[in-house]
């Protein structure tokens, strides 16, 4: 006899309140970040010592009418920030045992991630507006 309610059983979720969603998303974002990180490192190295105008040109230059570098930068930041929330969640789960502190830290991490994402996208849109 199972002590699980039928609803719990059909959802496939145990005492942790969630299934493999976190694990799977962490792996998928990790996989996406491999090529994105290699691209970002190469791009950043290519911008060492660049002036503001040169950096603007790099970010806004288009091929076939599409500003690939701006799109890749935005994608890199968004997926990084998502991967970061998943990773810091695990760190907090492991070391912070007080429920209150855990909640405050998780909200801080998510708020920080949201702010970084919004600020970055706003900056990229503003940069796109300069051309």
């Amino acid at each position: 006899m199972s002590l699980e309610t039928p609803l719990h059983r059909v959802q496939g979720l145990g005492a942790a309140h969630s299934g493999v969603k976190h694990f799977w998303r962490q792996r998928l974002t990790a996989l996406a970040l491999i090529p994105l990180t290699v691209w970002f490192a190469w791009a950043a190295l290519g911008l060492v010592g660049a002036s503001e105008a040169q950096t603007l040109y790099f970010i806004t230059q288009a091929a076939f009418g599409v500003p690939w570098n701006a799109i890749l930068l935005g994608t890199f930041v968004l997926i990084s920030v998502y991967h970061m929330v998943l990773g810091l969640q695990v760190v907090i789960d492991d070391y912070v045992h007080a429920e209150g502190g855990k909640l405050v830290l998780m909200l801080t991490v998510r708020a920080g991630a949201f702010i970084v994402a919004v600020v970055t996208l706003f900056a990229l849109i503003r940069i796109a507006g300069t051309v």
Binding site: V38, L45, G46, E52, Q54, T55, L56, M84, V119
Partner: protein
């Protein structure tokens, strides 16, 4: 007062292995890179905010402390990337034997430092900056 209870062995009781080091450093670099994301956002905001904001960002990036932080970011990024690939390899069942685990952890440690050092060597000797 609570009586001192026997503890199971933890961090300070084990001899350091390369695999243990990479596991701990993976987490530390992950937290470090989270802070590094703020630098990335700052850089983009500076680029978007005009020449003066960009100049003040570059002044910080160029001074010794800024270079030290950027080197840390570059190394953390290469370490977390390389060790992350190791993690994904484990997920498909590769790299668990002691010999492979030891070898791969040393590859990650050495290669991450080599990559970060190579990037900075290229930057300082004028071989970077080709996107201009």
């Amino acid at each position: 007062m609570a009586r001192a209870r026997p503890l199971s062995p933890h961090l300070t009781h084990y001899r350091w292995y390369s695999t243990m080091a990479t596991s701990i450093v993976h987490r530390i670099t992950g937290v470090g890179l989270s802070l590094g994301t703020l630098l990335l956002a700052w850089w983009l905001v500076a680029v978007a905010s005009g020449p003066e904001a960009y100049q003040s960002f570059m002044a910080v990036a160029r001074n010794p402390l800024g270079q030290f932080v950027l080197f840390g970011y570059a190394w953390a990024l290469s370490f977390h990337l390389l060790n992350g690939i190791r993690h994904l390899a484990w997920d498909i069942g590769y790299g668990f034997t002691p010999a492979k685990a030891n070898r791969n952890s040393w590859i990650v440690i050495v290669l991450s430092v080599v990559l970060a050092a190579a990037a900075f060597a290229a930057a300082w000797t004028g071989h970077a900056g080709y996107n201009q």
